[in-house]
């Protein structure tokens, strides 16, 4: 595979070595570096409240993650993430466990899947942002993308719930889904077999793509093929130990017997641990990065209008597209600026004409008032003149009357004098 890929492009010929060169130590060099850096693994557990997510995590990682019981009365689905530093011999693992809180508790479960999808997308977004930064540090970046999603199926024994199908369908292109049947100690062996077949056929008929353990590496192809046939794993979780024979084993004690967690004939817990951690952890991380993340990135960038080829199908680099978009953006900005300026000028003009209009109005009224005033003044002057005339004529008449009176008095006095004599 490697040779074909490499040789195909450039006519590269294989060469034989005359002695030991030493580059076969490369895997060890890589491993040593990884040991120094540490590993990172993120698991998302989706399941109804009380289905056993936290207990299973505790059992898988042989530790106590100190999770509190959640209530059944959450108004919405929430996600609770917690990061742990684990160490086994010289391997350091930074494990992030994300649990859903309140999943399946609401009356209306139509939007239940959305917070989960949003969480997964947010981690992809965060990585994409880091990748697109100019100054970035990807090799130091704490990868928070979800590598594996354990979907907990209720042990009803019949079939999947519609909530399960809807949720898994929404998630199958974003994350590696590994369905598990929780609390499998409530199902008998024969019921379990039928249940598993029913679940798988429902998944297939609904087009849900769950994670398939990889078959391309001969070392693990065989065990992976077998395990693929055992999906979904029926698990039982327990951190309590019960004495069986002369050993203490993790188990659940019932009056009718003891369910041993690590007994493969009791449940598939060991298979889950093998597959999830011991055999395929690296592949889960790789699939997340090369398939799910790339899909997210492609969709996101295409959404923003970036393409690899322009309408004439000539290859277009991101830079060209970016430049084109930038020009578009700047032109748009310029246009908006111009529009705003125009609007401003327009408004100013309008205001100006309004003001002018008002001024004219005012002027008109002033003129009118002035005229009125002048008219009144003229009228008043006329009246005054008339009054003056009246007065003067009256004065004259009075003077005349007085004179007359004076004359008549004198005349009368003479008459009187005459009579007296």
């Amino acid at each position: 595979l490697f040779e074909e890929k490499m040789a195909a492009g450039q006519g590269v010929r294989p060469l034989s070595l005359a002695g030991h060169v030493g580059f076969d130590s490369l895997p060890d060099q890589l491993v040593n570096k990884s040991i120094c850096q540490g590993f990172c693994f993120n698991i998302l557990c989706i399941g109804e409240t009380g289905i056993g997510k936290s207990t299973l995590m505790d059992t898988l990682f042989n530790t106590n993650f100190e999770n509190l019981e959640s209530s059944h009365f959450e108004p919405q689905v929430k996600l609770h993430a917690q990061t742990y530093d684990l160490q086994e011999s010289n391997v350091r693992l930074r494990l992030t466990v994300v649990n859903t809180v309140g999943f399946g508790d609401q009356m209306n479960k139509q939007e239940s899947y959305q917070p989960v999808v949003d969480y997964i997308d947010r981690q992809f977004e965060s990585y994409l942002q880091e990748e697109l930064k100019i100054k970035r540090s990807l090799h130091n970046y704490h990868d928070s993308r979800v590598h594996a999603c354990l979907y907990f199926i209720s042990p009803s024994g019949h079939s999947l719930k519609s909530l399960d199908l809807v949720t898994m369908k929404k998630l199958d292109s974003k994350v590696n889904i590994i369905p598990v049947i929780a609390k499998a100690d409530t199902i008998s062996k024969s019921e379990l077999h039928k249940f598993k077949i029913k679940i798988m056929s429902e998944l297939v008929s609904n087009g849900v793509q769950i994670y398939q353990f990889p078959l391309d590496d001969e070392t693990v192809a065989k065990v992976n093929t077998t395990m693929n046939g055992h999906l979904p794993f029926a698990v039982v979780g327990s951190t309590e130990e019960v004495s069986v024979g002369n050993k203490m084993v993790k188990a659940r004690q019932y009056p009718w017997g003891v369910v041993q967690v690590e007994n493969e004939s009791h449940c598939d817990f060991v298979k889950l641990r093998e597959m999830l951690i011991c055999v395929n952890m690296e592949d889960l991380r790789e699939q997340t990065h090369t398939r799910h993340y790339e899909l997210y990135r492609r969709c996101k960038l295409e959404e923003m209008g970036f393409k690899d080829t322009d309408p004439e199908c000539k290859p277009v680099s991101l830079q060209q597209t970016y430049e084109a978009k930038r020009q578009e953006f700047l032109v748009e900005l310029q246009k908006r600026e111009d529009e705003m300026r125009q609007m401003f000028v327009q408004r100013v003009k309008e205001k100006e004409s309004e003001l002018k209009e008002a001024e004219r109005d005012l002027q008109g009224r002033f003129e009118q008032l002035k005229r009125l005033h002048a008219d009144e003044k003229a009228a008043l002057e006329e009246k005054k003149r008339l009054l003056d005339e009246d007065q003067s004529s009256f004065g004259k008449r009075r003077a005349a009357a007085q004179l007359l009176q004076a004359q008549s008095l004198t005349a009368n006095g003479k008459k009187d004098k005459d009579r007296k004599k």
Binding site: F2, E3, M6, Q10, V12, R13, P14, L15, L17, A18, H20, V21, G22, F23, D24, S25, L26, Q29, L30, V31, K33, C36, F39, L60, F65, Q76, K78, L79, Q82, T83, Y84, D85, L86, E88, V91, R94, Q114, D118, Y119, R122, S126, I134, K135, R136, L138, H139, T219, R273, C278, V279, N280, D283, E294, E302, M304, D308, L318, Q319, R326, F329
Partner: protein
Amino acid sequence: MLVLALENHTVCTDLFGYVGIEAVLDQMRRKTMKVGLEFNIMVVGQSGLGKSTLVNTLFKSKVSRKSCTPNCEEKISKTVKLHSVSHVIEEKGMKMKLTVIDTPGFGDQINNENCWEPIVKHINEQYEKYLREELHINRKRRIPDSRVHCCIYFLPATGHRLRPIDVEFMKRVGKIVSIVPVIAKADTLTIEERQEFKERIRQDLAANGIRVYPQKEYDDDPEERILNDRIRESIPFAVVGTDKEHQVNGNKVLGRKTKWGIIEVENVAHCEFANLRDLLIRSHLQDLKDVTHNIHYETYRVRRLNESNMNFSELGLSARPLENGTADTSESESHL
């Protein structure tokens, strides 16, 4: 609105029993074996310093054609031409695509000014190619890596100091690629002469601010620093190359036979070829690739993206604030 109860602190937890986490190391090994590796090495030096011989000795096969063979009709070219040859070699299941980039004509002209330019151009072209692939919307699963991981610079065994061409080249190219200087044809120096020569070279390198591999600044942890300090004390390695085998004390060894004795190439008492080989291949192969990818390539990328002013946040790439509370940097609206 989703309320996310994300706790930022990590808890250190003890495991009560076996989980199987360490199996991830095996998974990594298997993956590396399946994927194989690409390694690109460039050899720079005047003609006749034994570049091709050294590469052939390093990889124990006829990787490069020696220019002194009778079938070779190449004249000394007027400019530095880069000549790249790829081979696939396999060892114990580990496949490697080895590309050797030769630089005939370097330092051979009478006027050698700017002879490093074609080399710098080639190195940057490889970074550019990788950057373009990385920026595609539809990316390949594995981007073909043609970037130069290591540049071996051949110093002639004059015994004196660095020459101007050496200083100029290493100063310029040392900024963009990991340079490993070697003293070529070191069988003309006695042990004392060799030590003094190396000391003077180290002084010259320090005086000119030239950083050769392994660079001090990139040491990750104290252990690595100690290891690399030891290496830094003995560079440049004085090497001798050959592909001929001779009998010494009943064993077949690689060596050069002369009238006065046989120089065993892989004998550390004779020359430092084994040290070079161990550095390049057996211990620091992955580190060379990492330094090229995480440091030199990133430096190129920063420069390139700044040149074209590609700032994605301008176009409002992030529509939502990041989880840890940092405000998102999209300011497309506020430009107005």
